[in-house]
């Protein structure tokens, strides 16, 4: 219904701005209905202003800024309709060090009420894990799974330096 959609949209809009500010350590973000007269058919536009930059359409964002903005949107919707579990596949690929840290903080907050399965190649992201699984490919082209100790992360890291 129109009323329900509009209410939900407004809640997501408020969350999006809040979460964006936490992930970007400042700035602001807007979600706007392209056609406020016709809520049931309107598109939704995204305008963001990273700290110290001008308000702009999301098309001008850098790789890492785009990732953080999409993550903010994901969690904004998530807060309105929480899911018992959430699967994230290498969403930190474009993030620099400080952004990975802010993303991790957010994960730890949602962890209270949500079960996460995250795939990452980033040793710093992996540090928030409660459990670690290693997936390997055997010589005969078959995947195997092995429960790993979170302390083995350090060993994994030493290997490639």
């Amino acid at each position: 219904s129109e009323e329900l959609f509009h209410q939900t949209f407004n809640r997501i809009k408020v969350n999006f701005h809040k979460i964006f500010r936490r992930l970007f350590d400042g700035g602001k973000a807007e979600l706007n209905l392209t056609n406020p007269e016709n809520v049931l058919e309107s598109g939704i536009e995204i305008l963001v202003q990273p700290p110290s930059k001008a308000l702009q359409n999301e098309a001008l964002l850098s790789g890492g800024e785009a990732s953080m903005t999409a993550i903010a949107l994901l969690f904004a919707i998530f807060m309105v309709k929480p899911s018992p579990f959430c699967l994230l596949d290498e969403i930190d690929a474009a993030l620099d060090g400080p952004n990975v840290e802010r993303f991790k903080k957010m994960l730890l907050e949602f962890r209270e009420t949500t079960q996460f399965l995250i795939i990452s190649h980033n040793i710093n992201t992996l540090k928030v894990a409660d459990a670690l699984y290693g997936i390997s490919m055997e010589e005969d082209g078959v995947s195997t799974a092995l429960s790993l100790d979170v302390n083995e992360l350090e060993k994994l890291k030493k290997k490639y330096e």
């Binding site: 209410q7 899911s83 969403i91 079960q115 928030v128 409660d130």
Partner: protein, 165 residues
Amino acid sequence: MFLKNLKIYGFKTFGRKVVVDFQKGITAIVGPNGAGKSNLIDALNWVTGETKLSDLRVRTSEQLIFHGSPSLKPLSLAEVSLTIENTDNLLPIEYAEVNITRRIYRDGTSEFFINKNKCILKDITNLFLGTGAGRGAYASMRQGEIDRILKQKPEERREIFEEAA
């Protein structure tokens, strides 16, 4: 509700049975490129009712079954089994532990089970409706999907908002 474990056999690169136990909190998956990490996510999405082949990164459902390697024959069926802890009764079903199993055979036939009882796909997707889990673009983000979310046209974008309402 939380995920307890996932058993995969014959699905994509899982030519031998694999069992993964989940923790409450954050379970992280690591491994080399091409090892099967995203395939595991596909298995999880598939067993909870995913039907869109492109979202499972295949063109035909036959491509979901282990197609063999230079040293192993192809398999003729793929089966994924997810066990969920349901003591909070978030899943509208009278079991404290719910097991969902989905199979596909190379001839294209499919089978679905909830706690060993044969059922249809709709019974599985209905379980998750209203829980926020299972289908719902906002409960997960696949590899490379970040761009897609932002590159969508404003009209296409409303879909994930509608699902939240």
